[in-house]
């Protein structure tokens, strides 16, 4: 469209309007950089810019702005400048080679929005796109730009290099060819080529569209991975293979530092698949699998730690896949990351993944049992507990005397859950622990094990002078354990505890009743039931309730499918 007004010299009103356009653009740019999209000011400034643009184009037609290294000019007059070149988008455009920016009538708000976004985004060093390529990619129909002419020192020479021979040589060659043709003219003119073979059938068009769709659905990463897989599996030259493996390790690390964990996992899966490829040259499988150990460099580890410390936003599936993909080589770095106390969810995922990665290699966790951070030691023991096995037990045993009760508790849980034979002595040791909860847990665990040594120790304990001073919970647990471990020996004691009348010692009576009931519930024999029934007849109030509750519990356990005894130990409280 030819704008008749453009032929005339722009008037002051037009210059002023261009200035307002630029002011509004600058404000919109600032609005976009300062305010979040949900902030009303974000849209307010942009709406103002759209209004100004619309008004100018409506009144004056096409707006052509000239760009210098520091200013935007309209008809030779500065309509925008900024002293700080980092903030100055005239400079940004100029640096990328734009010399004019042309806005045409009909420009739509989405185009203006894209313009503001592109101009406002400072280029990064590693950016493959500059303002020009971004404007081009955005394909803005009412916004055009004129680029600086690129001086091409060698352009003429480069094009001439594609031409051979001089004009005279060419003339001679033409004469010779014409003479040759005159001597042997063609027998007949060429028959017209068949058209049919060059037009596409409906089926071919459909196939082509299918290919196009398929191609559009292929992600760049998938393409890269499939190429790398093909190359690595087929490579016979060791030096080149090593280079490719180094590249994969580095890319994997780069992805991790950039937080693209899923992409790193893709590369690790590629290594696993390729290492299992049939027909690999001898020794290549080990080399390929070995790359996993080179992924986590100190720099990558630091990057990962930062990433995981920022919260639980990371894709847990990807994280799990990463540890699994790295296999044994994940243990050391990820134990270090556990030591950095990442968020709870991340920790859970990491621990689960380390359990999977550590199967068969519990020795790799040993260094972390000596770590000064109690939570890291406890997590390491928990992982060993999940891995189980004699080697894990030996490792856990080393921490039985750890100074932190939370670590000792984890050790206790280890042996309680694994049922390792070494656990009995550890549990017996815990009976003398300073911490009541540990003593109680150990008592219960020993009861479940049916430890005869524990029976003797517990009987002795009940006879010791300080036992009566211990809290009811602990005393109950001891009597309950004895009910399981030495029922015949404690039945008379329970009878005494239940039937003996203590005048003016109601509280003690209640405690004794509770302890005896705990033990009798565990014994659960007819003799125990008779004793409880007899006691029930002579008791009232709370004591009677305790006894009846014990009777109901025994009746319950006698039903098929109901197991007597204490609950299994709880899961770890990872903290």
């Amino acid at each position: 469209m030819i704008d008749a007004r453009r032929a005339d010299a722009p008037d002051k009103a037009e210059v002023a309007s261009a200035g307002l356009f630029m002011q509004a653009l600058a404000k919109a740019d600032r609005g976009f950089s300062i305010y979040l999209p949900n902030n009303p000011l974000h849209d307010k400034f942009f709406a103002e810019f759209c209004r100004r643009a619309g008004e100018h184009l409506e009144e004056f037609g096409t707006l052509r702005l000239e760009i210098t290294h520091e200013s935007v000019l309209f008809d030779g007059e500065t309509v925008y400048t900024s002293p700080d070149l980092r903030e100055n988008f005239a400079f940004r455009m100029y640096a990328d080679g734009i010399r004019s920016l042309i806005v045409e009538r009909g420009v739509e708000p989405p185009e203006l929005r894209t313009l503001v976004e592109i101009l406002g985004r400072p280029a990064r060093e590693d950016d493959e796109d500059d303002i020009v390529t971004r404007l081009w990619s955005s394909d803005l129909p009412h916004l055009r730009y004129v680029l600086a002419e690129v001086p091409l020192e060698s352009s003429a020479a480069a094009l001439d290099a594609g031409v051979s021979g001089s004009r005279a040589t060419q003339a001679g060659a033409l004469r010779r060819y014409a003479a040759e043709l005159a001597a042997a003219p063609p027998a007949s003119l060429l028959p017209p080529p068949s058209q049919q073979i060059f037009s596409l059938s409906e089926a071919e068009i459909a196939t082509l569209q299918g290919l196009l769709t398929q191609d559009e659905q292929r992600t760049p990463l998938e393409d890269m991975v499939s190429i790398l897989e093909a190359v690595i599996a087929a490579e016979r030259e060791d030096a080149v293979l090593q280079e490719f493996l180094e590249i994969v390790a580095r890319l994997c690390g780069d992805f991790l530092i950039a937080g693209r964990v899923d992409q790193a996992v893709e590369l690790l899966s590629l290594l696993s698949r390729t290492a299992a490829h049939p027909g690999l040259p001898a020794g290549n499988a080990a080399k390929i699998a070995g790359v996993r150990g080179r992924v986590i460099t100190p720099e990558v580890l630091a990057g990962l730690s930062r990433l995981l410390a920022t919260g639980d936003g990371i894709d847990r599936e990807a994280l799990r896949g990463l540890v699994t993909g790295l296999g044994r080589s994940a243990i050391e770095p990820f134990c270090h990351i556990l030591g950095d106390a990442p968020g709870k969810e991340t920790r859970k995922v990491l621990i689960e993944a380390l359990v999977a990665a550590g199967r068969g290699s519990p020795e790799l966790f040993l260094p972390f049992l000596l770590d000064p951070r109690w939570y890291l030691v406890r997590n390491a023991i928990y992982i060993l507990r999940r891995i189980a096995g004699p080697e894990s037990a030996r490792a856990a045993l080393r921490c039985a005397g750890h100074s932190d009760q939370r670590v000792r508790k984890e050790v206790m849980l280890f042996f309680d859950e694994t049922g390792d034979p070494a656990g009995e002595s550890v549990m017996l040791g815990f009976l003398g622990d300073d911490v009541q909860s540990l003593r109680v847990a150990a008592t219960r665990s020993l009861a479940r094990r049916g430890s005869s040594a524990a029976a003797e120790r517990l009987l002795a304990l009940t006879a010791s002078p300080g036992f009566a001073e211990r809290e009811l919970l602990e005393r109950e647990s001891v009597w309950e354990a004895l009910g399981a471990l030495a029922p015949d020996r404690v039945l008379p004691t329970f009878a005494d505890m239940l039937l003996k009348r203590r005048w003016f010692a109601r509280a003690q009576d209640l405690d004794e009743t509770a302890c005896a009931c705990a033990g009798l519930k565990r014994i659960g024999t007819p003799a125990a039931v008779d004793l409880l029934k007899k006691a029930a007849a002579g008791k009232r109030g709370e004591q009677r309730e305790l006894v009846e509750k014990a009777l109901r519990a025994i009746a319950q356990t006698r039903r098929p499918g109901v197991r007597a005894g204490n609950d299994a130990p709880g899961g770890p409280d990872r903290g």
Partner: protein, 479 residues
């Protein structure tokens, strides 16, 4: 690239483009149907109603329902309709109708109902069927006599005035783009040789320019692909493969932004050759088996260098496809010999054809004899389905014509000529535009361009010639 790969213009123009395509399709259907049925026949009712509906939609969008023909291109309003495989029939038939009627443009408003539209198509067929010196004038006269309202026809050249006289500029621009691309490739290859990190910003820009140029005036850049490499110091081959690949990609219907990926993959398909000693590449004798083995490493070395010097990003991955796949054949032959279950990508298939064509038509140091363009095209078609994708091979012929641009030929007049532009109409592919370069007695002339499709030219191609036979260089005619 914007999120989701869609640009603002995509969003703005998408509906207009779709409407334009429907408009063209509907025009085509009516044109065909009205040639077989008289007005009032029930077979015309549906196409007429649909056509009228499309015009209403244009009015609703405040756009003009205008179909224009200029420079062998069709436009809906100001939007150029890019021919793609799916709508090629409609495109060609409409193009022919405009040419036959010497019509520049036709526009419809809501004033024109099904009756007027139907009558107009009848008049068009009548004019085309009668031998007229000025078919467009005759059409205008009959329209006036019939009092058809809401339909306006213009002669060629009366529309799109800003496009007139642009071809010289476009030619110069094309040369500039070609030269810039050569420089950029040279820079990148030097970086690879020195092991320096790759920056592809400039390369991306020239590929974008290449796409613009090919969308605007394809012929100029296609002509420049006749500038061949004679050694491995220059990178004409890479530029040519880039141009040819993008031209094929356009025919396939690949979107603008994906064309950049394709162009980059094509331009840098031989990046791995920078790792091969020039002594081998430029060996002035045929390669022995060991040297071939070295040459065949370049796809893998290309992948390695790209990843090493550029890192892993979307663009690298796309370029890798061209570098890795351009010697992999459809039937699993070619090199590198690898298990590649994913199969050669669309880009890889396109680049393979373009690479083969340019390589075979060039005489390099190690390959003294170049094949003629038409012979190379025949070779590609012969190998389509085994080495090359058969559909893309057909589309490649669509790009170059059966007498590819740069073909040296003898005309029925005895003159020698070079094919400068193929005829976009496949039914007239045997009649390209030819520049006469020598008279029948062999005298070199700076001859005129002859459109062999124009009966007034009185010539046709008698035979194609092998330019290398007498060292005739056709490239100079494109500069």
């Amino acid at each position: 690239m914007p999120p989701g790969g869609r640009t603002v213009a995509d969003r703005i123009d998408e509906r207009l483009i779709l409407l334009g395509k429907r408009f063209l399709r509907s025009f085509f259907v009516l044109y065909k149907t009205s040639s077989n049925y008289v007005v009032g026949h029930p077979a015309l009712a549906q196409p007429l109603a649909e056509f009228a509906e499309i015009i209403r939609e244009f009015e609703h969008r405040r756009e003009e329902a205008l179909l224009a023909f200029h420079d062998d291109n069709l436009y809906v309003g100001e939007l150029r309709l890019k021919p793609d495989a799916a709508g090629f029939d409609a495109f060609l038939t409409t193009l022919r109708a405009f040419k036959l009627g010497r019509i520049g443009s036709v526009s419809f408003t809501g004033q024109a109902g099904p009756r007027e539209i139907g009558a107009w198509f009848v008049l068009l067929h009548e004019v085309e069927a009668s031998v007229q010196e000025d078919p467009c004038g005759a059409l205008l006269a009959r329209m006036a006599a019939a009092g058809l309202g809401g339909i306006a026809v213009e002669r060629p050249g009366e529309q799109l005035p800003e496009r007139a006289g642009m071809s010289e500029d476009a030619k110069e621009r094309a040369k500039g783009i070609y030269a810039q691309t050569l420089e950029v490739i040279s820079d990148v290859m030097d970086h690879v040789k020195l092991g320096k990190a790759l920056k592809l910003k400039r390369a991306k820009r020239v590929v974008q320019s290449m796409i613009d140029q090919l969308l605007e005036a394809e012929t100029n850049l296609l002509g420049l692909t006749n500038l061949r490499c004679y050694d491995e110091y220059t990178y004409n081959h890479s530029v040519n493969v880039g141009i040819l690949s993008i031209a094929i990609g356009q025919r396939v219907g690949i979107g603008k932004n994906r064309l950049v990926d394709l162009g980059m993959a094509a331009v840098f398909h031989d990046i791995g050759k920078s790792c091969i000693p020039l002594a081998v590449l430029n060996k002035p004798a045929p390669f022995d088996e060991r040297e071939w083995a070295v040459i065949r490493r370049h796809p893998v070395l290309g992948v390695k260098e790209l990843l090493k010097l550029k890192g892993a990003d979307a663009l690298t991955a796309r370029i890798m496809q061209g570098a890795f796949e351009h010697h992999l054949h459809l039937d699993g032959s070619g090199y590198p010999q690898v298990a590649y279950p994913r199969g050669v990508s669309l880009s890889g298939r396109i680049v393979a054809i373009a690479d083969c064509y340019d390589a075979l038509t060039s005489s390099r140091v190690y390959r003294r004899t170049a094949d003629t363009p038409d012979a190379t095209l025949r070779y590609i078609l012969q190998k389509s389905g085994t080495l090359y994708d058969p559909i893309l091979a057909k589309l490649f012929v669509n790009v170059l014509g059966v007498y590819p641009v740069g073909t040296l030929c003898q005309l029925s007049s005895g003159e020698l000529g070079v094919v400068m532009e193929c005829n976009p109409d496949p039914e007239q592919w045997e009649s390209p535009r030819v520049k006469v370069i020598a008279s029948a007695d062999g005298t070199a002339v700076d001859g005129t361009m002859v459109d062999l499709a124009d009966p007034a030219s009185g010539r046709r191609i008698a035979q194609t010639l092998d330019a290398r036979r007498h060292d005739i260089d056709v490239a100079r005619y494109f500069l």
